[in-house]
């Protein structure tokens, strides 16, 4: 029924076209069309254009100034990174660098670059170009530009002149070998080299289009022509324009791509913010794939014959506990909270398809995941008992939760809050729910001021390293957890992160995870909820990525 709809729709369009044409006779206008006449035939042709419905507007197309998935989606198609992931996993494989190695100190990284790779502007990708990118990031001038390099500041510690800066220099040993030297070892590497923010851009184009020019204007920033109109990388697609009025980003096949060339001639990323509308467009046949279907729709779509592609979970939702509240400094109270939560039921009733109860703060596929941590299965009696032992009966807690937001790990914060609060109330903890808009106070109140006793928040991993999960959350004192006294935890995490030898590193992280569960419990992990993609039946070759980092060059549309 739904399949035949497209034809019916076309027929009506033709009728309407007739009506409008009739109206127009008599010389409605004389402006001349300047578009190529091929536009419409493309649509009718098979397999030519792949239309993908994204969930939001990108910011711009300069990788280094971005930090969100919607910007990264097109960027990933236009650019490549030195190191990348095997499709469908978080495992590293060669990107622009065929291979990479680092010295025993862990500070010097040598990249053997692929030969004959060209940027879209025709310039060659060589070691000098790679180093130009590293140097550009390190030497970026201006508070405005620096403040928008969020991944860089996080991974590389700082900029030229900063004592915390990790980067030292980059040397082009020869045209095919780039050597990057760091001031200190960092566990984030080499995984972080695969971050989309650290994609390699054409130095020629960056220079031509003034890529470093970020100007502050009022409360926000304006970016360069490079970032907005001329993004130039080595990727499987070239940038074809962004029609903001219709929310369409056009990407054209790069016929000279070094890797597997795109199977479609053209790809359009259509921005549709409402999940329900994305689903409806998919059914209407106007888009061939959608990102982030509503969890509630996945089953129905699968039943209708659409391909629902679950991404392996690479995220975590947790209940944060703020130890600024003296009552919560007592481990028994925190454990009572963990026991009081019926997480299995939450996952069953509200978890997106394929979600699992989380016992640790990182997915099981990440190195350092310990299979044998202390588990807190739902046990109301135990929770009550622990509370009374700790003398914390009649506890009242402020529970902060975000509104106006939906994250892959947290599709519906209000529901999650309601269920969790319900569980805690059952254990005799009085909950005072405090809703705050995501950007209008929640992050401020929770992460900067630590006003809450409890809160829900989560994280989607960037690369396969426990430091990206556990380290981010608990590696240092944070207002979010008010955990200034937990120096043991900070030290242990710091040590694990600094360990270079792979086996020792793994062991150290496993121990950290065991201790977090049994000794420290600064928060309660809730679930890993995999986000999904849905495509029509005739879309082949789309491999869902745990990092939501899909590459579309492998996508083809069959008849």
């Amino acid at each position: 029924m739904r399949a035949s709809g497209m034809q019916a729709f076309r027929l009506r369009t033709v009728i309407a076209a007739g009506v409008v044409a009739a109206l127009a006779i008599g010389g409605a206008g004389c402006a001349k069309s300047d578009r190529d006449s091929g536009g419409d035939e493309d649509k009718a042709a098979t397999g030519g254009t792949f239309i993908f419905a994204g969930a939001g507007d990108p910011k711009n197309f300069d990788p280094i100034f971005n930090d969100d998935g919607e910007s990264f989606r097109p960027i990933r198609q236009i650019y490549d990174t030195l190191v990348t992931h095997k499709p469908g996993t978080a495992e590293l494989t060669g990107g622009l660098a065929e291979s990479w190695s680092n010295d025993p100190t862990g500070k010097v990284w040598t990249f053997k670059l692929r030969q004959g790779v060209k940027f879209h502007d025709g310039s060659a990708l060589d070691a000098a170009a790679v180093c130009a990118n590293f140097d550009r990031w390190f030497n970026m001038k201006g508070e405005a530009a620096q403040s928008q390099m969020i991944y860089y500041a996080d991974v590389f510690g700082g900029f030229a002149g900063s004592p915390d800066a990790v980067y030292d220099n980059c040397k082009a040993q020869d045209a095919g070998t780039a050597v990057v030297t760091m001031k200190k070892y960092k566990g984030a590497f080499p995984g972080a080299f695969a971050l989309t923010a650290f994609s390699i851009a054409s130095p020629t184009a960056m220079k031509q289009y003034d890529a470093d020019k970020v100007t502050q204007n009022g409360d926000s920033f304006a970016y360069s022509a490079f970032a907005n109109e001329h993004p130039t990388g080595t990727g499987a697609f070239t940038y074809g324009g962004w029609n903001k009025a219709t929310g369409e980003i056009t990407l054209n096949k790069n016929p000279d791509y070094w890797g597997e060339k795109a199977k479609v001639d053209k790809m359009i990323i259509k921005v549709i913010k409402d999940e329900n509308t994305r689903k409806q467009e998919l059914r209407a046949g106007t888009v061939q794939a959608i990102d982030f279907p509503a969890p509630a729709d996945r089953k129905a779509l699968a039943d209708e014959g659409y391909k629902v592609l679950n991404r392996p979970a690479f995220n975590i939702l947790y209940l944060g506990i703020n130890q600024k509240n003296p009552k919560l400094r007592d481990l028994r109270v925190r454990q009572a909270i963990a026991y009081a939560l019926n997480r299995a039921q939450l996952v069953q009733t509200k978890g997106p398809g394929g979600s699992t109860v989380a016992d640790e703060f990182l997915p099981s596929t990440v190195m350092g995941y310990a299979p044998d941590v202390q588990k807190y299965d739902y046990n109301l009696d135990k929770a009550k008992q622990l509370l009374s032992e700790a003398g914390a009966t009649g506890l009242t807690l402020n529970f902060y939760y975000p509104t106006e937001v939906s994250r892959p790990y947290m599709p519906n914060p209000q529901e999650i809050f309601t269920v969790l609060a319900n569980d805690l109330q059952a254990a005799g903890i009085k909950i005072n729910g405090v809703p705050r808009p995501w950007n209008g106070g929640f992050k401020d109140d929770v992460q900067q001021f630590g006003k809450q006793d409890l809160h829900i928040l989560g994280w989607t991993g960037d690369y396969n390293d426990p430091g990206n999960f556990v380290g981010t959350f608990f590696g240092r004192e944070k207002e979010e957890f008010g955990d200034g006294a937990m120096t043991d935890m900070f030290t242990a995490i710091g040590k694990a992160d600094a360990t270079v030898e792979p086996n020792a590193k793994k062991a150290a992280w496993e121990q950290v995870n065991r201790d977090i569960a049994s000794k420290w419990l600064p928060a309660v992990p809730i679930w890993h909820g995999p986000p999904a993609l849905v495509t029509t039946k005739n879309v082949e070759g789309l491999v869902p990525s745990p990092l939501t980092a899909e590459q579309f060059n492998t996508v083809s549309i069959t008849k």
């Binding site: 509630a296 089953k299 009733t349 309601t418 319900n422 809703p435 106070g441």
Partner: protein
């Protein structure tokens, strides 16, 4: 000011003038009699009465606690399956495993709360400003009326959205306050217009001639006679309040507490989100809202007809 505001103003004033004509008590009695003969008003009043009874006796009528989650409902509950009617739960489950029927019933109460409060607050301040303007006259009147001119241009939903943006967090009160604010100028103008008409009327002149204190003239003679038009408007405002509450929830800017069983919230959040899983989650609250809004509109229209001296013969 402008023709536009002028017109709106004139229409309100007209409405008042009509209802203000004729004395107080007899008018009410007469109106009451005509109200009982007005089928529009009767239908409206019946709907509202039914709704009121449910709202007041919700704890007695509802089979369950509206916020409790029931194991028999959560047992089969998943994100894409919400159990339908079962024994003990005639309407089945809501997205969190709560009793949907009880939530619908308590919804009458919460919806009433939003509507009544929004209307009452608007009424209170509107009457205050209107009475002050009408009684004081002079520059106070001018200032208040200029201000209402500007306010009359704002649709309540836009104001509510702006309030959400300007407030830290939208709450149940955002919509209440927004609808209230939007109605302040309407009430104020209605009241003032009718008070001005009253000021020149015979019984006020007589009272003044007899040396009755100004305050007493306003409270005993002018206000009661001016309230009829305001009551009609209040009835119509109620419908707007619950519709706006629903719209805000739909935009994701409404009351964030989904424990609260309020129809607008139920429709705007769960109803839309789980429409394909269980359409009743949308249809039931939507029907309830339409019915109640219709009830208040009918009653308001009926009252307007009944109170309009044009119809008296």
């Amino acid at each position: 000011m402008s023709q536009l505001a002028e017109h709106k103003r004139r229409r309100i004033d007209e409405l008042t003038a009509r209802t203000a004509e004729g004395g107080g008590v007899s008018l009410f009695r007469d109106a009451g009699r005509r109200l009982l003969r007005n089928p529009t008003a009767i239908v409206g009043a019946t709907i509202i009465l039914l709704f009121l009874v449910i709202a007041i006796f919700a704890p007695l009528v509802a089979p369950h606690d509206p916020v409790q989650r029931f194991p028999e409902l959560t047992k089969d509950l998943t994100v894409d399956n919400i159990p339908g009617p079962t024994a003990g739960h005639p309407f089945g489950s809501d997205p969190l495993g709560r009793d949907f029927m009880s939530r619908m019933i308590y919804g009458a109460r919460q919806t009433m709360f939003v509507g009544v409060l929004a209307t009452l607050i608007g009424l209170l301040f509107g009457v205050l400003f209107g009475a002050v303007a009408g009684a004081a006259g002079g520059w106070i009147d001018v200032v208040i009326m200029r201000f209402t001119d500007v306010m009359l241009a704002l649709p309540s939903l836009l104001l509510a959205i702006t309030l959400v943006a300007l407030a830290r967090q939208s709450t149940q009160w955002t919509v209440i306050v927004a609808v209230a604010i939007v109605n302040v100028p309407i009430f104020a103008r209605l009241l003032r217009g009718s008070m001005l008409a009253q000021r020149e009327s015979d019984h006020v002149l007589a009272a003044r001639a007899l040396g009755v204190k100004r305050r007493d003239i306003v409270t005993r003679h002018m206000l009661p006679n001016s309230l009829t038009a305001v009551i009609v408007q209040a009835t119509l405002t109620f419908a707007v309040a619950i519709l706006d509450a629903a719209a805000l929830s739909f935009l994701g800017l409404g009351d964030p507490d989904i424990n609260r069983a309020e129809w607008g919230l139920m429709l705007g959040v769960d109803g839309v989100r789980y429409f394909e899983v269980r359409p009743e989650l949308a249809y039931f609250p939507a029907l309830a809202i339409i019915l109640v809004a219709l009830g208040f509109t009918l009653l308001g229209e009926g009252m307007r007809e009944a109170l309009d001296p044009k119809n008296r013969r």
